[in-house]
Amino acid sequence: MTSSGEVVVGVLALQGAFKQHVQLFEKIGVKATEIRTPEELAEVDALVLPGGESTAIALVARRTGLGQELIGGFPGVVHRNFFGSQLGSFSAMLESPLNVSDGDAVSSEAAADTASSKQYRAVFIRAPVLIEYDDAVNVLAKVVPHKESQEADAKVDAHEPIVVAASHGNILMTSFHPELTDDASWHQYFFNFATKVIKAAPGGAAPASSSSA
């Protein structure tokens, strides 16, 4: 916590787009620090796991003593690289998470209906999606997959909106990269989320966020 009792956010800085996360938190006045050691991890209230090369991050994390504790439990099934290879990366407009009251699901279709609401441009890169999940999971954003760009999967209907942001307990995850635009809406949302989780469970587990790796 800062001296005024505000949540301090750590960004795992072993490898990946960590600098952009820190810059966006700073832009909205949230204290954010780069985390490279277990000692630094102990100093923060919430943690962001940035996108990067997951193979490299896992290897370096193990050598740094940050291995196991970073892997959280999220009650769902993730389909890795759902939208296809790198050349299939894309961006999509979502409703800004800040427009949504707690517990409401947002989808890109809903966003289209309310033209006045603030839109958020989400950037997807070799993105994983949540294809099965527990009822307790709070769905925050969905998109309709591109017909051409996705690799077919028997479990998924190509025309149904799929989950690209969700929260459960103290974990918030997004399949897109909120650090790749100048819009800090998702960083603000995460800060609000972390503040609420910590107030609800003093001394409890720190919140974590993960964008696609």
Binding site: Q15, A17, K19, L59, H177
Partner: protein
């Protein structure tokens, strides 16, 4: 999707490599060593720069079959080099679905006036730069990622340091300038005005800039990170050293913990012999770093750049 969107996405893609090390490899076995060490990507090529310096002759794109064998061997992204201006080598590399193309001065130039129009491609490009002007010229052509040119294959960090300091110094200089001064500054460094203006506003390049060209030790890698690089390419430095697997791991960890001298001291211990290298670069008969399309140094006769009219 518009071309501008693709460029933004490719820049984002390159950001995922930040804080990582990209290693030159010539065989699937070396690629596996690099991956196990924690490399974020490998550069597949038939001969590493140290050998290209020694062998001479025309250096070209590698055999696609050799590149594909490396792609098959690892799950991390694979990069490959095309000659400066050789857009058909780039087309071939895109056709075999390589993850990134390096339009590289280490290969023999195919066009002394023009670089590849990288906006014609979906695959992201990385290009070398010695200063801010060269960096912005490459970005204007569509590069999604930059690296210092350094002087590849020498194991000597001096040129990479010069290039990184030059980019950072010019970015700082821009910060102190009145907006009315940016027009002439853009002309002086032969860079597009809009990109100069964007750099002045943000205080940084719009794409990531890695260190490259002469990195041989964990300390070299960490020094360039402290000078503001986003990550590091290591070419000859690993597989020309005494214990490649150990050195590869040490350099990866040095790039993560670049600000921690105690950790760097540990990482520098017992990693075998470094590559021998070349100490006097000015007397060396090979000069990769001054190869740039449209520059007088590249065409060798001192005539003005044909496209020096920004």
């Amino acid at each position: 999707m518009s071309g501008e969107d693709k460029i933004m996405e490719n820049r984002g893609l390159a950001r995922m490599l930040c804080g990582g090390v990209i290693m030159d490899v010539t065989t699937p076995e070396e690629a596996k060593v690099a991956e196990a060490a924690g490399a974020v990507a490998v550069m597949a090529l038939e001969r590493i720069p140290a050998d290209l310096r020694r062998d001479g002759g025309v250096a070209r794109m590698s055999d696609p079959d050799m590149i594909l064998a490396i792609k098959e061997a690892v799950s991390i992204p694979v990069m490959a080099k095309a000659r400066i201006g050789h857009f058909v080598e780039a087309q071939i590399l895109e056709a075999i679905e390589i993850d990134y193309i390096d339009e590289s001065e280490v290969l023999t130039m195919a066009d002394e006036e023009n670089h590849i129009n990288k906006r014609n491609f979906k695959v992201p490009f990385v290009c070398g730069c010695r200063n801010l002007g060269e960096a912005l010229r490459r970005i204007q052509e569509g590069a999604a990622m930059l690296r210092t040119k350094g002087e590849a294959g020498t194991g000597n960090i001096v040129e990479a340091v010069r290039h990184q300091r030059s980019v950072q110094r010019e970015l700082r200089k821009l910060q102190s300038m009145d907006e009315n001064e940016l027009f002439v500054f853009a002309k002086d460094i032969q860079a597009p005005y809009d990109l100069v203006k964007a750099c002045a506003k943000e205080g940084r390049l719009p794409v990531v800039n890695f260190a490259a060209g002469g990195v041989a030790t964990p300390a070299d890698a960490a020094m360039l990170m402290q000078l503001g690089c986003d990550g590091v390419f290591v070419g000859s430095g690993i597989f020309k050293s005494g214990d490649p697997a150990k050195r590869a791991k040490a350099i990866v960890d040095a790039v993560t913990h670049y600000k921690d001298p105690k950790k760097l001291a540990e990482l520098s211990k017992n990693i075998g012999e470094a590559m021998v290298g070349i100490s006097d670069l000015k007397k060396d008969h090979v000069n990769f770093r001054d190869r740039e399309g449209g520059s007088s140094a590249a065409n060798g006769n001192g005539t003005p750049a044909p496209h020096g009219t920004w």
